[in-house]
Amino acid sequence: MNIIIAGDGEAGFYLAEALVDSKHDITIVDPHDELLKMIEAHTDLMTIVGDSNSVSVLKQANVNKADLVISVLHDETINILTAILAKKLGAKRAIARVATMENISVENRKIYEELGIDYLISPEDIAGHEVVKLLEQPEATEIFDFSDGKLSIFLIRIEKNAPIIGKSLRMIAEEKGSLGFRAVAIHRGSDTFLPEADTVFEVNDLVYVITKRDAKNELLQLGGKKKLDINNIMIVGGGRVGKVIARRVENDLNVKLIEIDRDRSVKLTDILDNTLIINGDARDINLLDDEGIENIDAFIAVTSSSETNILTCLHAKKFGIKKTIALVENLDYIEISQNIGIDTIINKKLIVASHIIKYSMGDEVTSLKCLSGINSDIVELVAKEGSPITKSLIRDLKMPEGVLIGGVIRGEESFIAVGNLQIKADDKVVVFALPGTIQKVEKMFHKSGFGF
């Protein structure tokens, strides 16, 4: 697939790197000469220095032959213009990143579709939603729903008192009989691996689990999680993400929002009626003390500075806050942040990638989630009639290395993948894939079974 990515820095680069791995031809357009040189040195793609909303630059990028044009600059007007121009110049599909939620509402989306933009994405909005979801299920580190939550992926950190410590998957299965969930990957230290029957769980393992809706409580109990009640939350940073979160939860929870900029603080009071807006610097401990940080249940740091977010979260941890969430833009910080005890990391680049990469894949991919920090993906795919995946029981399937089937959604029902389950046509299958294996997974779901 020919893909053109218009970006201004990291979001575009991350996307480019993710897509290049799955054998796409990538051209990246970016105004920054130096950054492009760097990415070109270690990635197999073409770079064009220039503004993506210029027709001549787009033509230079062979836009008429592009299957997909993705514009993810920070400035949404450029993105929208780029997508419209690209479409008019012959690109097959166009995606634009936007800042505000109102563009994404159903009635407004039509306008953009008429202009030729196929898909709009607002990473800030999605980041906000992810945080809200975590506030509803604060025991998990990361949550992603497939098919409206018929199956979910939970990332949980194994606590010291968890009953499964020292036990292997096989032992747990023997003890509990059939389970409504299944561990698909374990992140230990800096390694990510697929669990086998003999894999023993250890303290502080980060475990990715596919779970059915009704099995969540049992899962959390096994992971040693106590039920957390979230009533009081503190948000640091009144930018787009902070605003989205506050707006969504201010009627149900007690929300305090700390914003450093005075003008912005004042503006926020217009939008947020039930949130207490505090104008101040969250790095100031006295301020946190004054605002009663010890009574806070969840601390959410979403300023534009990753460092501030990490540090204030660490601070909050010191006050004994159970749930800390930090917005971290630097990918290299994610693992470190997780290791030093921040519960959840939100990263906008991964969010963009999660929502866009599926458009570069076949239509059998219905949903995809890039997992923070471990560079792997969880994919939901539809099994095509006559595809290799439907040919035999899961136990007998020859799956590529580094790939694990987590669960199956069939109509309104969902199943956890076990050896004697037979995948049928039109089933939605949730698969965990280590880096570089997605391509092979896709093949298993195609109609023609070449190579199998």
Partner: protein
Amino acid sequence: MPTKHLINFRIIIRVLSFLLLVVSIFMLSGVVFAWYFNESIWPLLISFLITGATGGIIWLFLGKRKSKGIGKREGYLIVALSWIVVSLFGSLPYMFSNTIPLFTNAFFETISGFTTTGATILTDIEALPKSILYWRSMTHWLGGMGIIVLTVAILPFLGIGGMQLLVAEMPGITPDKLHPRITATAKRLWGIYVLLTLTEMLILWIGEMDFFDAVCHSFATMATGGFSTKNDSIAGFTPFTQYVIIAFMIFAGTNFTLHYLALHGKFKKLWLNQEYKVYLGIITIVTILITIGLVLNHLDGSIETSFRNALFTVVSILTTTGFVTVDYYLWPTFLWIMVFMLMFIGGSAGSTGGGIKIVRHLLLVKNSWIELKRAIHPQAIIPVKFNRKSVPQQIIFNVMAFFLIYMMIFATGVVIMALIGMDFETAIGSVAATLGNIGPGIGNVGPVENYAFFSPFAKWFLSFLMLLGRLELFTVLIVISPAFWKS
């Protein structure tokens, strides 16, 4: 020793072994000619077996394992080593056929072929078996577009590492990408190369040449090599053939990106390319000057002959091909000095030509000119512009360094050649002609002479210069610099 090695030798050996496999296949192709012309097929067949088996066995032992990618160090080392290794194995056919029994001579002839220099140690070319002559031209053709580029085109596992290799092998400042994927870019470059070669082959064949000569000469032309199958090079062929070869030498000395654009109908881009305009400009002006000089001195008969000889010589030397229709060393000094100067200009970036390259001269001249302006307006920001884009200072420094190193190597080379007893003209001629990958020089290595009389030391030294020139100095110098081997 720490467990982390500075250089991943496994991947280097792996690429080299693959390279040998590729080269061995091309050796095998010569057997067809040997069989057709009723010559012994053994020299090429045995060379094929040895080269292929060496490559194949190492590939089998090291090939399967997945290993880390190619870094900067591996890239440079692969490129530098590959040319040496290929030249070692490439000299086997000469030795097995007993046409060039001495290893030093055979190696010189092979590396002269691969680097597209075209300097020969043979005195009677026509005495050689045709299949060996075919291999001699084939070395040109493989080296022209680059054996590494070919490898990148067909080796999928190189991935990003391919770019490292291309940067180290391709002539010019930075290689243009014709396609987002490096493998696809390499395939397109070779595609254009093959297409142009076949076209020339066909035209020459339709003309007076037989099939064998057409093949060999088109190989040598498109690679800007210069090995002919005749003792008197191109002089014995008709004007038609000479004009065809002139045209294709000009094509070969042009940036292949421009061919690609032309094939896609984007002719406008050709005329926006300053290097291309200067390239054609130099050819035109120097040809006119030499033609006038020849006519005024009543040399070379008719005006057409003078013009043709002038044009052929200018194009042949400028593109660093080294075909000869006339002994320019017999011309008045003023005329052959101009030809000698052309040796320092070279072809275009991204072409198969050697030398310093036109774009470098262009940037240096522009920068020098702008220095004057800068002196008057110290506060002004005046970048060097090339093809309507400003050139980063970094590249200007790189070009300056290249030019300086080139000249220093040239000067050192001349001193060394003089030290071992060469006269002045032979010394500068041989160094300029090998460093620039041209072939014929001046003095005792003039257009109708050869390199047979040199001592073994001189031959090895000149071989080294050819490699330096073909890989544009930096690749070889980086590999032999102490910093390369220190972490």
